[in-house]
Amino acid sequence: MSITLDKVIQVDPISMQIVTAGSSVLSAEYDVSQTRVGRVFFDIANIGNGTPTPPKLEVQVSQKASGNDAWVVCLQRMPMQLQGSAGTTLGVNVFANDLFFNVTNVWTTAGYLPQRWIFFHDAVFVNSEWANVTLFASPTTTVRDPIQFNHLSTDGLVRGARYSYEVDLSSVTRMRIAVYNNSTRGVGAPLDHVVHVGLILTGAVTG
Protein backbone atom coordinates (compact mmCIF):
# COMPACT_ATOMS: atom_id res chain seq x y z
CA MET A 1 0.00 0.00 0.00
CA SER A 2 1.33 3.44 -0.81
CA ILE A 3 0.26 6.88 0.32
CA THR A 4 0.16 9.77 -2.12
CA LEU A 5 -0.75 13.38 -1.44
CA ASP A 6 -3.49 15.13 -3.34
CA LYS A 7 -2.59 18.84 -3.24
CA VAL A 8 -5.33 20.94 -4.79
CA ILE A 9 -5.14 24.67 -5.52
CA GLN A 10 -8.47 26.15 -4.50
CA VAL A 11 -10.23 29.02 -6.19
CA ASP A 12 -9.04 32.08 -4.26
CA PRO A 13 -10.96 32.14 -0.97
CA ILE A 14 -10.72 35.94 -1.03
CA SER A 15 -10.04 37.45 -4.42
CA MET A 16 -7.92 40.60 -4.62
CA GLN A 17 -10.07 43.39 -3.21
CA ILE A 18 -10.03 46.53 -1.15
CA VAL A 19 -10.97 45.97 2.47
CA THR A 20 -11.88 49.43 3.59
CA ALA A 21 -11.09 50.79 7.02
CA GLY A 22 -13.71 49.57 9.47
CA SER A 23 -14.76 46.54 7.44
CA SER A 24 -14.00 42.83 7.33
CA VAL A 25 -14.32 40.00 4.84
CA LEU A 26 -15.06 36.31 5.26
CA SER A 27 -14.40 33.54 2.79
CA ALA A 28 -16.86 30.81 2.06
CA GLU A 29 -16.43 27.78 4.28
CA TYR A 30 -14.48 24.74 3.16
CA ASP A 31 -15.27 21.12 3.86
CA VAL A 32 -11.93 19.77 5.04
CA SER A 33 -13.22 16.50 6.42
CA GLN A 34 -10.92 14.64 4.01
CA THR A 35 -8.07 17.15 4.21
CA ARG A 36 -4.86 16.55 6.09
CA VAL A 37 -3.18 19.94 5.79
CA GLY A 38 -3.65 23.30 4.15
CA ARG A 39 -1.52 26.28 3.19
CA VAL A 40 -2.89 29.80 3.22
CA PHE A 41 -1.32 32.64 1.24
CA PHE A 42 -2.01 36.18 2.42
CA ASP A 43 -1.10 39.18 0.24
CA ILE A 44 -1.77 42.63 1.66
CA ALA A 45 -0.95 46.25 0.90
CA ASN A 46 -1.75 49.49 2.66
CA ILE A 47 -3.41 51.94 0.28
CA GLY A 48 -4.40 54.31 3.07
CA ASN A 49 -2.27 57.11 4.38
CA GLY A 50 -0.43 57.03 7.67
CA THR A 51 0.25 54.48 10.37
CA PRO A 52 -2.25 51.61 10.35
CA THR A 53 -3.44 49.07 12.79
CA PRO A 54 -2.67 46.12 10.50
CA PRO A 55 -5.63 43.94 9.53
CA LYS A 56 -5.93 40.66 11.39
CA LEU A 57 -5.57 37.58 9.20
CA GLU A 58 -7.31 34.48 10.49
CA VAL A 59 -8.03 30.87 9.71
CA GLN A 60 -11.06 29.63 11.61
CA VAL A 61 -12.36 26.12 12.22
CA SER A 62 -15.62 24.85 13.66
CA GLN A 63 -16.43 22.07 16.08
CA LYS A 64 -19.74 21.43 14.30
CA ALA A 65 -20.64 20.15 10.87
CA SER A 66 -23.01 23.06 10.25
CA GLY A 67 -24.06 26.41 11.60
CA ASN A 68 -22.10 29.51 12.45
CA ASP A 69 -22.18 29.34 16.22
CA ALA A 70 -18.94 27.47 16.80
CA TRP A 71 -16.21 29.06 14.72
CA VAL A 72 -12.92 29.47 16.53
CA VAL A 73 -9.59 30.89 15.50
CA CYS A 74 -6.88 28.32 14.78
CA LEU A 75 -4.38 30.68 13.19
CA GLN A 76 -4.16 34.42 13.67
CA ARG A 77 -1.52 36.73 12.29
CA MET A 78 -1.18 40.46 12.39
CA PRO A 79 1.14 41.47 9.56
CA MET A 80 3.86 44.04 9.93
CA GLN A 81 2.75 47.64 10.11
CA LEU A 82 2.92 48.94 6.56
CA GLN A 83 3.24 52.70 6.61
CA GLY A 84 0.65 54.13 4.25
CA SER A 85 1.58 56.48 1.43
CA ALA A 86 -1.70 56.95 -0.39
CA GLY A 87 -1.37 59.49 -3.14
CA THR A 88 2.22 58.56 -3.88
CA THR A 89 2.46 57.77 -7.55
CA LEU A 90 5.07 56.01 -9.63
CA GLY A 91 6.06 59.22 -11.36
CA VAL A 92 7.22 57.26 -14.39
CA ASN A 93 5.55 54.73 -16.63
CA VAL A 94 6.48 51.14 -15.79
CA PHE A 95 6.15 48.43 -18.37
CA ALA A 96 5.30 44.75 -18.30
CA ASN A 97 8.38 42.50 -18.28
CA ASP A 98 10.54 45.22 -16.76
CA LEU A 99 12.87 44.24 -13.92
CA PHE A 100 14.16 47.76 -13.40
CA PHE A 101 12.45 51.07 -13.07
CA ASN A 102 13.28 54.55 -11.95
CA VAL A 103 11.32 56.16 -9.18
CA THR A 104 12.58 59.25 -7.51
CA ASN A 105 9.78 60.48 -5.33
CA VAL A 106 9.29 57.82 -2.65
CA TRP A 107 12.44 55.77 -2.47
CA THR A 108 13.82 57.29 0.66
CA THR A 109 11.86 55.30 3.20
CA ALA A 110 12.81 52.01 4.79
CA GLY A 111 9.68 50.45 3.38
CA TYR A 112 11.28 50.04 -0.01
CA LEU A 113 14.56 48.44 0.97
CA PRO A 114 15.69 45.04 -0.36
CA GLN A 115 13.53 42.06 0.62
CA ARG A 116 10.45 44.24 1.10
CA TRP A 117 7.31 43.95 -0.97
CA ILE A 118 5.82 46.83 -2.89
CA PHE A 119 2.37 47.11 -4.42
CA PHE A 120 1.54 48.72 -7.72
CA HIS A 121 -1.94 50.14 -7.15
CA ASP A 122 -3.16 50.39 -10.72
CA ALA A 123 -6.05 52.56 -11.82
CA VAL A 124 -7.32 49.38 -13.46
CA PHE A 125 -7.58 47.52 -10.18
CA VAL A 126 -7.23 43.97 -11.53
CA ASN A 127 -3.85 44.96 -12.96
CA SER A 128 -2.53 45.81 -9.52
CA GLU A 129 0.31 43.58 -8.34
CA TRP A 130 2.91 42.90 -5.69
CA ALA A 131 6.64 42.86 -6.41
CA ASN A 132 9.65 41.96 -4.31
CA VAL A 133 12.48 44.50 -4.14
CA THR A 134 15.97 43.08 -4.61
CA LEU A 135 17.92 46.29 -4.97
CA PHE A 136 17.15 49.79 -3.85
CA ALA A 137 19.52 52.21 -5.54
CA SER A 138 17.87 55.52 -6.16
CA PRO A 139 16.68 56.17 -8.74
CA THR A 140 16.88 52.67 -10.23
CA THR A 141 15.17 49.90 -8.32
CA THR A 142 15.20 46.22 -9.19
CA VAL A 143 12.52 43.64 -8.48
CA ARG A 144 12.91 39.87 -8.47
CA ASP A 145 10.40 38.88 -11.12
CA PRO A 146 9.36 40.75 -14.23
CA ILE A 147 6.44 43.09 -13.71
CA GLN A 148 3.21 41.59 -15.05
CA PHE A 149 1.34 44.67 -16.27
CA ASN A 150 2.00 48.13 -17.64
CA HIS A 151 1.54 50.83 -15.02
CA LEU A 152 1.14 54.54 -15.62
CA SER A 153 3.12 57.23 -13.91
CA THR A 154 -0.08 58.25 -12.16
CA ASP A 155 -0.66 54.80 -10.65
CA GLY A 156 -0.05 54.34 -6.95
CA LEU A 157 2.99 52.76 -5.37
CA VAL A 158 2.66 51.64 -1.74
CA ARG A 159 4.06 49.15 0.71
CA GLY A 160 2.91 45.54 0.72
CA ALA A 161 3.64 42.19 2.31
CA ARG A 162 3.15 38.50 1.59
CA TYR A 163 2.82 35.62 4.02
CA SER A 164 2.31 31.89 3.71
CA TYR A 165 1.30 29.58 6.57
CA GLU A 166 0.71 25.88 6.84
CA VAL A 167 -2.33 24.81 8.85
CA ASP A 168 -2.82 21.31 10.27
CA LEU A 169 -6.38 20.30 9.38
CA SER A 170 -6.15 16.63 10.23
CA SER A 171 -8.61 16.85 13.11
CA VAL A 172 -11.16 19.39 11.89
CA THR A 173 -13.95 19.22 9.34
CA ARG A 174 -14.71 22.83 8.37
CA MET A 175 -12.59 25.91 7.90
CA ARG A 176 -12.88 29.45 6.61
CA ILE A 177 -10.65 32.50 6.29
CA ALA A 178 -11.27 35.97 7.65
CA VAL A 179 -9.64 39.38 7.33
CA TYR A 180 -10.57 41.94 9.97
CA ASN A 181 -9.79 45.56 9.27
CA ASN A 182 -12.29 46.97 11.72
CA SER A 183 -10.69 47.66 15.05
CA THR A 184 -7.85 49.63 16.55
CA ARG A 185 -5.30 47.70 18.56
CA GLY A 186 -2.23 49.41 19.86
CA VAL A 187 -0.67 51.96 17.54
CA GLY A 188 -2.51 53.42 14.58
CA ALA A 189 -6.02 52.93 13.23
CA PRO A 190 -7.56 50.83 10.46
CA LEU A 191 -6.73 52.10 6.98
CA ASP A 192 -7.85 50.86 3.60
CA HIS A 193 -5.89 47.75 2.61
CA VAL A 194 -5.82 45.57 -0.46
CA VAL A 195 -6.07 41.88 0.43
CA HIS A 196 -5.79 38.69 -1.56
CA VAL A 197 -5.90 35.17 -0.11
CA GLY A 198 -4.96 31.91 -1.80
CA LEU A 199 -5.32 28.34 -0.52
CA ILE A 200 -3.97 24.86 -1.19
CA LEU A 201 -5.66 21.89 0.49
CA THR A 202 -4.05 18.49 0.73
CA GLY A 203 -5.72 15.16 1.23
CA ALA A 204 -4.09 11.76 1.36
CA VAL A 205 -4.89 8.94 -1.02
CA THR A 206 -3.96 5.32 -0.41
CA GLY A 207 -3.62 2.76 -3.10
Binding site: M1, K7, V37, P114, T134, L135, T142, R144, D145, T202
Partner: protein
Protein backbone atom coordinates in the same frame (compact mmCIF):
# COMPACT_ATOMS: atom_id res chain seq x y z
CA UNK B 1 6.40 -2.02 7.64
CA UNK B 2 6.61 1.24 5.74
CA UNK B 3 9.40 2.46 3.49
CA UNK B 4 10.45 5.99 2.63
CA UNK B 5 11.81 6.79 -0.80
CA UNK B 6 14.22 9.74 -0.71
CA UNK B 7 15.90 11.35 -3.70
CA UNK B 8 18.97 13.54 -3.92
CA UNK B 9 17.68 16.02 -6.49
CA UNK B 10 19.71 17.91 -9.04
CA UNK B 11 21.15 20.94 -7.32
CA UNK B 12 18.70 23.83 -7.19
CA UNK B 13 21.68 26.11 -7.75
CA UNK B 14 24.90 24.48 -8.88
CA UNK B 15 28.12 25.71 -7.34
CA UNK B 16 28.75 29.05 -8.97
CA UNK B 17 30.34 32.43 -8.62
CA UNK B 18 27.66 35.06 -8.03
CA UNK B 19 29.18 38.40 -8.85
CA UNK B 20 28.54 41.49 -6.77
CA UNK B 21 25.31 43.01 -8.06
CA UNK B 22 23.94 39.76 -9.48
CA UNK B 23 20.75 37.90 -8.68
CA UNK B 24 20.16 34.18 -9.11
CA UNK B 25 16.55 33.06 -9.34
CA UNK B 26 16.30 29.30 -9.47
CA UNK B 27 13.94 27.44 -11.75
CA UNK B 28 10.59 26.44 -10.34
CA UNK B 29 10.77 22.92 -8.91
CA UNK B 30 7.70 20.69 -8.88
CA UNK B 31 7.06 19.16 -5.45
CA UNK B 32 3.39 18.44 -6.01
CA UNK B 33 3.78 14.77 -5.11
CA UNK B 34 6.47 15.09 -2.46
CA UNK B 35 6.18 14.94 1.29
CA UNK B 36 9.13 16.97 2.51
CA UNK B 37 12.50 18.35 1.56
CA UNK B 38 15.78 19.36 3.10
CA UNK B 39 17.73 22.21 1.58
CA UNK B 40 21.49 22.31 2.10
CA UNK B 41 23.01 25.65 1.22
CA UNK B 42 26.69 26.61 1.01
CA UNK B 43 27.99 30.16 0.83
CA UNK B 44 31.40 31.83 0.84
CA UNK B 45 32.69 35.35 0.33
CA UNK B 46 35.46 35.56 -2.26
CA UNK B 47 36.17 39.27 -2.17
CA UNK B 48 37.92 41.68 0.16
CA UNK B 49 35.20 44.31 -0.26
CA UNK B 50 35.20 46.56 2.79
CA UNK B 51 32.01 46.92 4.91
CA UNK B 52 30.16 44.47 2.69
CA UNK B 53 26.46 43.77 2.72
CA UNK B 54 25.20 40.24 3.29
CA UNK B 55 23.81 37.97 0.61
CA UNK B 56 20.09 37.28 0.92
CA UNK B 57 18.79 33.74 0.42
CA UNK B 58 15.16 32.78 0.17
CA UNK B 59 13.23 29.59 -0.41
CA UNK B 60 9.91 30.44 -1.96
CA UNK B 61 6.63 28.76 -2.76
CA UNK B 62 3.69 29.74 -4.91
CA UNK B 63 -0.04 29.37 -4.64
CA UNK B 64 -0.21 28.75 -8.40
CA UNK B 65 1.34 26.13 -10.66
CA UNK B 66 2.46 28.68 -13.24
CA UNK B 67 3.53 32.30 -13.51
CA UNK B 68 5.79 34.42 -11.36
CA UNK B 69 3.24 36.69 -9.75
CA UNK B 70 2.56 34.74 -6.55
CA UNK B 71 5.92 33.67 -5.16
CA UNK B 72 6.22 34.14 -1.41
CA UNK B 73 9.09 33.49 0.98
CA UNK B 74 8.95 30.48 3.28
CA UNK B 75 12.45 30.94 4.58
CA UNK B 76 14.67 33.95 4.12
CA UNK B 77 17.98 34.62 5.74
CA UNK B 78 21.13 36.67 5.37
CA UNK B 79 24.68 35.42 5.13
CA UNK B 80 27.51 36.78 7.20
CA UNK B 81 28.56 40.30 6.39
CA UNK B 82 31.99 39.87 7.97
CA UNK B 83 34.99 41.22 6.14
CA UNK B 84 36.70 38.39 4.22
CA UNK B 85 40.38 37.77 3.61
CA UNK B 86 42.05 35.47 1.14
CA UNK B 87 44.31 32.65 2.31
CA UNK B 88 47.48 31.68 0.49
CA UNK B 89 48.08 27.94 0.39
CA UNK B 90 51.68 26.79 0.54
CA UNK B 91 51.42 23.04 1.20
CA UNK B 92 48.93 20.19 1.61
CA UNK B 93 45.40 20.27 0.37
CA UNK B 94 45.77 17.39 -2.05
CA UNK B 95 43.13 14.72 -2.57
CA UNK B 96 42.58 12.54 0.48
CA UNK B 97 44.79 14.68 2.72
CA UNK B 98 43.44 16.27 5.91
CA UNK B 99 45.94 19.07 6.37
CA UNK B 100 46.62 22.26 4.52
CA UNK B 101 49.16 24.98 5.18
CA UNK B 102 48.07 28.54 4.71
CA UNK B 103 48.63 32.17 5.58
CA UNK B 104 47.26 34.19 7.34
CA UNK B 105 45.49 32.31 10.11
CA UNK B 106 41.88 31.21 10.44
CA UNK B 107 39.45 32.14 13.16
CA UNK B 108 37.93 29.96 15.86
CA UNK B 109 38.05 26.20 15.92
CA UNK B 110 35.33 24.47 13.88
CA UNK B 111 34.79 27.41 11.54
CA UNK B 112 34.21 26.73 7.89
CA UNK B 113 36.50 28.08 5.25
CA UNK B 114 36.32 27.92 1.49
CA UNK B 115 38.79 26.75 -1.11
CA UNK B 116 38.14 28.41 -4.44
CA UNK B 117 39.50 26.14 -7.09
CA UNK B 118 40.54 27.30 -10.56
CA UNK B 119 37.76 25.02 -11.75
CA UNK B 120 34.87 26.42 -9.76
CA UNK B 121 33.04 23.11 -9.63
CA UNK B 122 36.01 21.55 -7.84
CA UNK B 123 35.93 24.11 -5.06
CA UNK B 124 34.97 22.91 -1.62
CA UNK B 125 33.97 24.00 1.85
CA UNK B 126 36.08 22.65 4.67
CA UNK B 127 35.97 22.79 8.45
CA UNK B 128 38.95 23.56 10.64
CA UNK B 129 39.52 21.12 13.52
CA UNK B 130 42.97 22.08 14.65
CA UNK B 131 45.59 24.67 13.86
CA UNK B 132 49.31 24.72 14.59
CA UNK B 133 52.36 26.73 13.67
CA UNK B 134 53.02 30.41 13.95
CA UNK B 135 52.63 31.28 10.30
CA UNK B 136 52.32 29.69 7.90
CA UNK B 137 49.64 27.81 9.79
CA UNK B 138 48.99 24.08 9.44
CA UNK B 139 45.25 23.48 9.52
CA UNK B 140 43.78 20.06 10.19
CA UNK B 141 40.36 19.71 8.60
CA UNK B 142 37.46 17.49 9.55
CA UNK B 143 37.22 15.56 6.28
CA UNK B 144 39.96 14.81 3.77
CA UNK B 145 39.89 16.99 0.66
CA UNK B 146 37.76 15.67 -2.18
CA UNK B 147 39.59 17.58 -4.89
CA UNK B 148 43.14 18.85 -5.23
CA UNK B 149 43.12 22.22 -3.52
CA UNK B 150 46.88 22.74 -3.43
CA UNK B 151 46.56 25.45 -6.07
CA UNK B 152 43.30 26.91 -4.79
CA UNK B 153 42.77 30.23 -3.05
CA UNK B 154 41.38 30.03 0.45
CA UNK B 155 38.75 32.38 1.89
CA UNK B 156 38.04 32.70 5.57
CA UNK B 157 34.34 33.67 5.65
CA UNK B 158 32.15 30.72 4.70
CA UNK B 159 28.90 29.26 5.98
CA UNK B 160 26.63 26.25 5.55
CA UNK B 161 22.91 26.16 6.27
CA UNK B 162 20.20 23.47 6.43
CA UNK B 163 16.44 23.93 6.29
CA UNK B 164 13.76 21.25 6.51
CA UNK B 165 10.46 22.03 4.82
CA UNK B 166 7.17 20.17 5.00
CA UNK B 167 6.01 19.92 1.38
CA UNK B 168 2.58 18.53 2.31
CA UNK B 169 0.80 21.69 1.22
CA UNK B 170 3.27 22.93 -1.38
CA UNK B 171 3.20 22.30 -5.10
CA UNK B 172 6.32 24.11 -6.28
CA UNK B 173 9.34 25.88 -4.86
CA UNK B 174 12.32 27.85 -6.02
CA UNK B 175 15.48 29.27 -4.47
CA UNK B 176 16.70 32.85 -4.85
CA UNK B 177 20.11 34.31 -4.16
CA UNK B 178 20.17 38.08 -4.00
CA UNK B 179 23.71 39.35 -4.13
CA UNK B 180 22.69 42.86 -5.11
CA UNK B 181 21.45 44.34 -1.89
CA UNK B 182 23.67 47.35 -2.37
CA UNK B 183 24.85 49.03 -5.53
CA UNK B 184 28.28 49.64 -4.04
CA UNK B 185 28.86 47.27 -1.11
CA UNK B 186 27.91 43.86 -2.50
CA UNK B 187 30.79 41.44 -3.07
CA UNK B 188 31.55 38.37 -5.14
CA UNK B 189 30.42 35.17 -3.48
CA UNK B 190 30.23 31.46 -4.29
CA UNK B 191 27.05 29.57 -3.50
CA UNK B 192 25.44 26.18 -3.98
CA UNK B 193 21.95 24.92 -3.09
CA UNK B 194 21.19 21.20 -2.85
CA UNK B 195 17.89 19.46 -2.12
CA UNK B 196 16.92 16.03 -0.84
CA UNK B 197 13.25 15.11 -1.02
CA UNK B 198 11.04 12.49 0.60
CA UNK B 199 9.02 11.28 -2.37
CA UNK B 200 6.80 8.47 -1.22
CA UNK B 201 5.71 6.29 1.63
CA UNK B 202 4.74 2.71 0.96
Amino acid sequence: MSNLVKTVQSEQASIQLVAAGANVTGAAFDVSTKFSGTYLVDWAAVSTQATPVATEFCIQTSQKDTGNDTWVNMFTWLSSSALAASLTISAGGTVGVSTITLTPTLGAVNVYFFLKNGTIGNSEWSRRINLSGGGPFVVTVEDPFTNDQSGATGWNVAERYKYDIDFSSIRRTRVCINNARSATLARDIVARVALITCDSIS
